[in-house]
Each structure stands twice: as C-alpha cells, then as structure tokens.
C-alpha cells in the first residue's frame, strides 16, 4: 500500500446559499482545493453526497459535477453512507491512491439542502434511519438522539448543563471560523430558551440544515513533496458499520461503529488515543459529541458530559474537540461534513487556523458518522 498525503483543501462559506445550485457549490470547492494544491491534476473523483435525489431531484452527480467543472471526462463516482458520505468519499479516494490505481484523487463532499422545505428535509434526513421500522412510526433524527440523551441521563446522571457546555464551546470555536454558517457565540440561557424539538433536546442542541461543499486532494507522499504546500500524512483509516435501527442495539449508549472504526484507524497508524492531539467529531447533536468522546476512548463511558463541562475539549483544553465549531456552528451539509472535518484538521496541522489555531499539535483525528451511528469512518492525520 502506498503512503498517502493531502496536498490541497477547498472549503466555501457555508449557509443558506439560495443563489447557488449543487453543481456550482461543488465546483467552487474543487476549484479552491486545486488552487490550494497548486496543481490541476485529477485522476479520479469521489463525491460524498447523501441524497441529491431527495434534496435536489438530482442523481448522477458523477456526471453532473465534472461536467459543470469543465472536466467532463474525469472518472467520478458518488459515495453514499448518509451523514458519513463525506468521510467515506475521502476514504475511497485514499483507496484509489493507496492501491496505485490513481495518483491524484480528489474527494468532494456536497449537500444542497435548502432546495426543499424544512419538513421535506426532515423526511429526507430520516431516510438514514430504518424506513420500515423507525421512520414509518414518525421518529425523527432529533428523536433518536433524544432517546440516547435520555438514556445517558438516566444511567450516568448527565445533566442539561453538560449538554449545553458542548453547544456553547462549539459556537465559541465557530465564532472564530469565517466559513461557519452560524459564526457567533451563544449562552446557556439561549440554549435553555430555544424551543424543545424532542425532549430533552432543544433547537440549539441540534446541528442545522446547511448548503455546503468541501474538497480535499490526495496523492502519494512522494508526489506530495513536489508540490508547494506542506503535505499532511494520512496515517490511519478506519471504517465500520452497526445496525441501522437504534432499537436493534442491546445497548443504545454503545456506539460500536465509532469504537471499531477508531480502533482500526489507531492500529493502522500505530498509535493509541493518548497520541492524538485534537479531534474533529460528528456532533450532529450535543449528546453525540459526549458519546463520541466515550467511544473514542478519550474518557470512560459515562464521563463524557463531565469532561465537556470541565473544559477538556475547549481550544485550550487537554483534548480540543471541534476547533472548527463542529457541525453545530459550522453547519451540517450532510455529504460535505466528513470532507470538511479533514479540511479543518489539515488547516490546524499546517498552522493556518488563525484565531482558533491550536498550539503544539502534530496528530489529529476526524470522526464522521451516518444515521444514529449505523456507520462511522475515522481518519488520522499527521504533520510530516
């Protein structure tokens, strides 16, 4: 297997991009990525996208996006794993290069979610759950994570304030990120006064509906040395699935796909979680970040809430999590999220993160998951 490096990243400002279509935002992110890398070469393209069909009535992005880019003959493919589509697209681009099949592979993640109403978007997102045995009965994603939050509170005594501490921290980080959809700070009082969506989760516990795109260019470590930007080494990749229905799991507080994907990535990188300096994780809801901290092995099961409110995960904490602002503040265009996590890790490792720059870091981890953690993909990135 050939060694892998990221040589370019491209991210656009996320938000409700009414004036732009899915093809336009994807092409903009790719163009920024190529400019960053200082090369135009693309041997293969992977496209992380959950549901062009439901959000835009548009499938066949593997033709649409290269076509709009003006590079209609690039071999492209769409990768779908619900909200983990972006991370899976990066992983697939890695396989292209690692296998020797392609030398330069670009992964672009894109989701254009505001072409349909909020109600329709809730339906589209719910297709990441079991259609016949969960969504059929009227459960929503906030509902699924609310049930996990309720169980976490019942078993471990996790508190409302601990959930809020995740949201406040991520919005603080996002306030320093010019590409974030909601780049402003919020207070505990604002969280408590936001409408209840699905008890105990309030509106400000939930990641938003976002239009966005992100891209990363991957090549071999050898090729990377020929280019202008400092390459970032991809030393570990892990991927696992779990049952789609939350009700199928013996223990709904055990995110098995996250645990297994993390273990695999760490093993491949020859590291333990103690060697990781920071992480970008899938905080689709406040409770998710708490449970992921536990699944990564950063803290013991049940201690994620306390660790969050004690400041472990802040920009100046011992294990910073989501310096970008996370899905909560930066936004969550589902197929783009996993790619953007890699963009943030690369930005931090290059020392280009401006006001939110972390100090003394060499190794970062990204964790992206689909549905109620029915799939998870982890990457480990290192400064060379």
């Amino acid at each position: 297997m050939r060694k892998l490096a990221i040589i370019g990243i491209g991210l656009i400002k996320w938000g409700e991009l009414w004036e732009k279509s899915i093809r336009q935002i994807a092409a903009e992110a790719i163009s920024k990525c190529l400019e960053d890398a200082g090369t135009d070469r693309i041997d293969a393209m992977t496209i992380g996208n959950m549901s062009g069909g439901l959000f835009n009535g548009q499938e066949h992005l593997s033709s649409l996006i290269p076509d709009h880019l003006g590079r209609k003959n690039i071999p492209a493919m769409r990768i779908e794993s619900a909200c983990a589509s972006g991370g899976m697209a990066v992983r697939t681009a890695c396989l292209e290069v690692a296998s020797g099949f392609s030398d330069y592979a670009i992964a672009v993640g894109v989701e254009k979610m505001t072409d349909i109403s909020g109600n329709e978007a809730t339906y589209a997102l719910a297709t990441a759950a079991d259609q016949d045995y969960e969504a059929f009965h009227g459960v929503t994603f906030p509902g699924l994570y609310a049930m996990m939050a309720k169980a976490h509170m019942d078993r471990y005594g996790t508190t409302r304030d601990q959930l809020s501490s995740v949201v406040i921290k991520n919005h603080y980080n996002g306030s320093l990120n010019p590409n974030a959809q909601f780049p402003f700070k919020i207070t505990s009082d604002q969280v408590l006064k936001s409408p209840m969506v699905s008890d105990p989760l309030r509106l400000l516990d939930c990641s938003p509906i976002t239009d966005g795109a992100a891209a990363v260019l991957i090549t071999t470590l050898e090729e990377a040395k020929k280019l202008k930007k400092q390459p970032v080494f991809i030393s570990g990749i892990g991927h696992a699935s779990d049952s789609i229905a939350l009700s199928s799991r013996k223990d709904i507080l055990k995110l098995e796909a996250v645990e297994l994907s993390t273990d695999k990535a760490l093993k491949m990188a020859g590291k333990s979680i103690r060697d990781i300096d920071f992480a970008e994780v899938h905080d689709c809801f406040s409770i998710a970040e708490i449970m992921i901290l536990e699944a990564l092995g950063v803290v013991a099961p049940g201690e994620g809430g306390k660790a969050s409110s004690d400041g472990l995960t802040g920009l100046n904490g011992n294990f910073p999590v989501n310096p970008s602002g996370g899905l909560k503040s930066k936004g969550h265009p589902v197929g783009a999220t996993g790619v953007a996590q890699i963009c943030e890790a690369v930005t931090q490792l290059r020392g280009e993160a401006g006001e939110r720059q972390l100090k003394n870091i060499r190794t970062g981890l990204t964790q992206n998951m689909g549905g109620s953690a029915g799939s998870s993909v982890v990457h480990i990135l290192e400064v060379i």
């Binding site: 809730t122 009965h137 009227g138 699905s198 008890d199 105990p200 009700s247 799991r249």
Partner: protein, 132 residues
C-alpha cells in the same frame, strides 16, 4: 407508497410476528436474514405477547411529513418481555409523565395516511399497561 411495500410488512406490524432462532433461541423483531447471535438461518415464527416496558423515550414536537397533525407525541423503545426492542409511538397518555421502566402494552392503531387517496397505514402503538 405502492401497496406491496405496505402489505409485505403486515405480519409484523399487525400481529407482532417475530423470528426465533431454532439454534440459540434468540428472537429478532423484525426478522433478519440470519441470526445476529449465532448466524443460523433456521427460524420459527412466533407472536410477541405485546407486553413490555419503556427502555428509553422522548416526545416528538417537530414531526416529519405525514405526522404534523399528531404533535406532540410520545415515542420510545419498548423492550418486550420476550427480549426484542421495538421503536413505536406511545399514546393514550400524557407523554410528559412517562418514565423509563413504565409497563406498556401493544395496541393496533392508525399510523398515518399517504395523502388523500393513498394507503391508510396501520401498525402497533403502545399504551400504558394499567393491568385491565
């Protein structure tokens, strides 16, 4: 929704039919292609009693399409006395007063309608088991 997509789930939705592995006796609801515990593909169909308790729950206040007229509604994972856990609505009660561990019993109810001319969908919902 095409009618076959609805009717092929009827044995489970109307009658709580589950699959019991003949080898390790694990019960799957809904059935799986092979047993998640032992890998066997030899099952017998059993009917769940419809009785169980709340394992976790919430109240849905912002609903997906088709459920707007029902909010707020209780939703939970019910752990059946035979073992399987089922995601379902919890109804005929004040969802604010539900607690983990509360006893529940199956009821056959209307779930929603597929527009004004489509399928009217029925399945299980759960209500507090007051022992009547």
């Amino acid at each position: 929704m095409q009618v076959p997509r609805y009717w092929r789930e009827i044995p489970k939705r109307y009658r709580l039919e589950a699959a019991q592995c003949k080898k390790c006796l694990n019960i799957s609801f809904p059935e799986k292609f092979s047993c998640p515990e032992c890998g066997s593909r030899d099952f017998k169909t059993i009917k769940l009693s419809g009785k169980g308790k709340i394992s976790t729950h919430t109240i849905i206040r912002i609903a997906p399409e088709g459920f707007n007229d029902q909010v707020p509604y209780g939703m939970g994972i019910i752990e059946m006395d035979e073992g399987p856990r089922i995601m379902a609505q919890i109804t005929d009660c004040d969802p604010e007063k539900l607690k983990t561990g509360d006893r529940m019993i199956y009821q056959f109810r209307r779930i929603r309608e597929d527009g004004s001319t489509g399928v009217i969908m029925y399945a299980y919902k759960f209500v507090p088991d007051v022992g009547i």
